[in-house]
């Protein structure tokens, strides 16, 4: 009975001996991380810090001494700070409304649904709609009778990015607000505190870890955002990602572009490190025994409730307005000139845009399963196997996501435009860019779900005589499939809608929908841009609906109950 128990294995036996598949798996992961994560970043550093064959700060000082580039650096930080503050505030208001106010279920559904829209749309959507309403000849301007209004620059970019990124804050904060033990708020009330005081002394302090996390996420998001400033920032408000892009595509100055992206990399890395090592550890949300009934919603005071609901309704209505504007824009002949309805723009998309649609779908379809595989393997190795460097492996596997897309794109063209790995212009580079950048959600989901699955389940399989590989494929993989599918859904959405890294990597052979939208915008073909956006949103929507269905199905088969979408 006890002779074959796993405990009888002497502790000093190397894990590689016990598990022969471990070494090849580890080697494969490390080689691919080295090639597609470490190597490009190292090449980027080399290009930044090498001038005339030796170590030098010349490129960096050149960038910093340029007034315009310095301004871009300051603007980027300032914009990121403003977006993260406003987005977090708006996200908090939404999360508070959904988790703390007694609203009818359909209102909560609507609030949740509206926050999904910006997450599955291409990054231009709100920029285009805002241009159509507040730009030159914008319909909101006409409606309000404002003649001379310059919307381009800080305010336009800030507004558009806030609307694009606040759903991230909403999701982070709604999770933390619904995890706060309702008894704590009840306890404060029973000790005599007014609802306002309860919020100030209990609810708000307990949500601070979530707020910090949301601020950092939004700061990183805005810092890296490329599409919005390209459309809305204009020449008077330069920011780093667009400056780096123009430096490379406009001036063919790879060194200058590398230096600018290095400037972008420093704050992004700071945010990543802060988030991983500081916010991650500081959480009050604990599950301590039975927490009792969630109490019925108690009034928070009519004024506060009215204000919160009012803000939510206004923002929701505005988002719906922006999206209907896109749809409308796709169906008129010439925006603002000839407003008669037509399907001509969609015909344009399906003829001239056909190649871009097929290319985008192929790249996403190839990157998604590969990214899913990467997520399972990396998540499993770093969570379940104890060996030297598995923390580092996790860190590097998430690194490309933490870096702004522009930085990754520039690093990729520097690294892969010459031998030994000359793959620019191919599909491989697009797939690799997406796979190593956007599998992060899947990796984190796999780690989280493995964290919840007791290792004894796998030990049971091993004790019944299964080999490590068999245990992995027959026990572990089925258990993490919901997490993997969730990660793949995310990867697919981003592969369809991303632009910041791949704008550098597209070619004549391989073009993408998002770059076509950008071309339309720069050529002022608003109607075609809208039509492309509508088609892209519908494609993403259809594909994610299918994958959400698969996720639910897999979750039900495993847990015997409805899964989390």
């Amino acid at each position: 009975m006890n002779s074959k128990a796993p405990l009888s294995v002497p502790e000093r036996v190397s894990p590689f001996k016990r598990d022969p598949a471990l070494l090849p798996a580890l080697a494969a992961v490390w080689v691919s991380l080295a090639v597609f994560v470490l190597y490009p970043v190292i090449r980027l550093f080399l290009v930044t810090f090498m001038a005339e064959g030796q170590l030098s700060f010349a490129n960096l000082t050149a960038a910093l001494s340029n007034w315009y580039d310095r301004q871009a650096f300051v603007n980027s930080l300032w914009l990121a700070a403003a977006v993260s503050a406003a987005g977090t505030l708006l996200g908090y208001v939404y999360a508070f409304a959904v988790t703390r106010i007694a609203l009818p279920p359909w209102v909560k559904w609507l609030l949740g649904a509206v926050t999904i829209l910006p997450l599955i749309s291409p990054p231009f959507t709100s920029s285009i709609a805002l241009t159509l309403s507040l730009g030159p000849n914008g319909i909101l301007l006409k409606l309000l009778g404002v003649g001379n209004f310059n919307f381009y620059g800080f305010w336009g970019t800030w507004l558009s990015e806030t609307l694009t990124y606040f759903p991230v804050a909403f999701m982070t904060l709604a999770a933390i607000l619904s995890a706060v033990d309702p008894n704590l708020e009840d306890a404060a009330l029973s000790l005599g505190a007014s609802p306002g005081r309860v919020f100030r002394t209990v609810t708000l302090p307990l949500s601070i870890p979530g707020i910090a996390n949301s601020v950092l996420l939004l700061f990183a998001g805005s810092l890296a955002d490329f599409a919005t400033p390209l459309v809305l920032a204009g020449h008077n408000f330069p920011v780093l990602p667009t400056q780096a892009y123009l430096q490379i595509t406009g001036l063919y100055d790879l060194r200058g572009g590398a230096a600018l992206s290095f400037l972008l990399l420093v704050p992004a890395m700071a945010v990543y490190v802060l988030q991983r090592f500081w916010v991650g550890k500081k959480s009050y949300v604990t599950i301590s025994g039975k927490s009792g009934a969630r109490s019925a919603f108690k009034s928070k005071g009519r004024l506060a409730e009215g204000l919160v609901t009012g803000v939510c309704f206004f923002v929701t209505a505005f988002i719906l307005y922006l999206y209907s504007l896109i749809l409308w824009g796709a169906m008129v002949k010439v925006w603002g000139v000839d407003n008669s309805l037509t399907l001509e723009n969609f015909r344009y998309v399906f003829t001239h845009g056909r190649k871009a649609i097929l290319d985008t779908l192929s790249v996403a379809a190839v990157a998604t399963p590969l990214g899913g595989l990467l997520a399972v393997v990396v998540g499993y190795l770093s969570q379940r196997k104890k060996f030297f460097g598995n923390r580092a492996m996790e860190f590097f596997s998430l690194l490309n996501y933490a870096l702004p897309g522009t930085v990754v794109g520039i690093a990729y063209i520097i690294a892969f435009n010459e031998k030994p790995l000359h793959i620019t212009g191919t599909m491989t580079i697009l797939v690799a860019a997406y796979m190593f950048r956007y599998s992060s959600a899947g990796i984190r989901a796999v780690i989280a779900s493995l964290h919840q699955i007791d290792p004894s389940v796998e030990e049971a399989s091993a004790s019944l005589g299964a080999s490590a590989a068999r245990t992995f494929f027959r026990v572990t993989v089925p258990l993490v499939i919901p997490a993997v599918l969730m990660g793949m859904r995310y990867l697919f959405i981003l592969s369809m809608t991303a632009i910041s890294s791949t704008i550098f990597l597209v070619s004549v052979k391989w073009n993408l929908l998002t770059t076509r939208i950008l071309e339309c915008m720069t050529e002022l073909q608003f109607a075609q841009a809208c039509a492309f956006s509508v088609v892209l949103i519908l494609l993403v929507f259809a594909a994610t609906a299918v994958m959400a269905g698969l996720t639910r199905l897999a979750a039900r088969r495993i847990s015997g109950e409805g899964g989390r979408g």
Partner: protein
């Protein structure tokens, strides 16, 4: 100082899957000043819901709650002057023990010097002097429980409400804390409602127990009365262990009833307000410690015999059908029975009670 509390015909209807569920159904109770009343019942019987309605966390669907003669049914929690102790303690994790205990005093606008004094006294009362700088996550379950108690006691609430406060503690600490809580409650002379599903807690701590089942009150009375005179089979079974022996009524004179059980006619006390008719079925409630092996009485066969140190426990199958439990104090040399053996069981009819079925 202590105040009275009154529940009149309080009901609460929840909507679960769009179907109404009567969680609390027409409960009336009046609690005298300084009294400690325990709500006892299985989970889901509505006891916690009543407590939360007294606190003001839930609003009754019908009926009224009054504290100290004032109708508080529509008064919000924070203006009721109640102290609520939660099952999971609900200590504020981001505040030190001192700040937790001082929270209510700060809300009241008490001066800093008074706060210091009162928090000190409160922590001393619960035996946690000097722990004021610690944070909740550095304390054991029992210590957290004491902080939670101190936090409400410093406010000198009119009514102390406790929702299964000991259920997350280990067995030994639970027994210690229940005498501690009772001591503090008596010392401060505060009216107290206490929810529990543990009959041991209810029997040892309360002035009166309210036994609840499916949203309704089964019986309200002092612990001993509930044990000796259960009004219903539910109460008999829920409090202590009980043998419920089926029989039929032979005669009834208003206070005592003659019942035929397993071929024997026995005269026992009848449940209050009963109306037994001859030949109707009746149930005899006999506590196992009152059912002992004897020369005479009901005949049966021993199914299992268990030695527990202080006593022998016999599970006996009666001849007339039915299974009973008998406790026999163990003394060296005394006859014990083994499995399969024939046995006769006798009980003192004056301490048994007959219920209608």
């Amino acid at each position: 100082m202590a105040v009275a509390l009154e529940l009149s015909n309080v009901s609460k209807v929840f909507h679960k899957d769009k179907k109404p569920v009567r969680a609390v159904d027409g409960v009336s109770l009046s609690v005298s000043p300084g009294e400690m009343v325990t709500f006892l019942g299985p989970s889901g019987c509505g006891k916690t819901t009543i407590l939360r309605m007294v606190a003001g966390f839930e609003t009754p669907t019908g009926g009224a709650v009054s504290i100290d003669g004032r109708d508080v049914t529509n008064v919000p929690v924070n203006r009721r002057d109640i102290g609520f102790v939660f099952q999971n303690y609900a200590l504020f994790p981001h505040m030190s023990v001192f700040e937790n205990v001082a929270y209510g005093l700060r809300v009241k606008g008490t001066g800093e010097a008074d706060i210091r004094r009162k928090v000190g006294e409160g922590l001393e009362l619960v035996g946690l002097k000097g722990a004021d700088k610690a944070f909740p996550n550095q304390l054991s379950g029992g210590e957290q429980q004491r902080v939670a108690l101190a936090r409400v006691l410093v406010l000198e609430p009119k009514v102390l409400l406790m929702d299964e406060p000991l259920s997350n503690l280990d067995a030994k600490l639970r027994i210690h804390m229940r005498t501690e809580i009772r001591r503090i409650q008596k010392q401060l002379d505060v009216t107290c409602l206490y929810v529990t599903h543990d009959q041991g807690e209810a029997l040892t701590m309360s002035d009166r127990i309210m036994v609840m089942n499916k949203g309704k009150v089964e019986q309200i009375g002092p612990p001993r009365e509930l044990y000796s005179d259960p009004r219903s089979l539910f109460v008999a079974d829920f409090i202590g262990q009980a043998n419920i022996i089926p029989g039929s009524v032979v005669a009834f004179d208003g206070t005592n009833v003659l019942v035929s059980v397993a071929g024997v006619k026995i005269g026992v006390r009848a449940v209050k307000n009963a109306s037994f008719t001859p030949c109707a079925p009746a149930a005899l409630v006999v506590r196992p410690e009152n059912l002992m092996p004897s020369e005479e009485g009901m005949a049966g066969t021993v199914r299992t015999a268990t030695f527990l140190g202080g006593r022998m426990e016999y599970e006996v199958i009666l001849e007339g059908g039915g299974e009973v439990l008998s406790f026999d104090p163990f003394l060296p040399g005394k006859k014990t029975f083994s499995e399969g053996e024939r046995i006769r069981l006798y009980f003192d009819p004056s301490v048994a009670v007959a219920l209608e079925t």
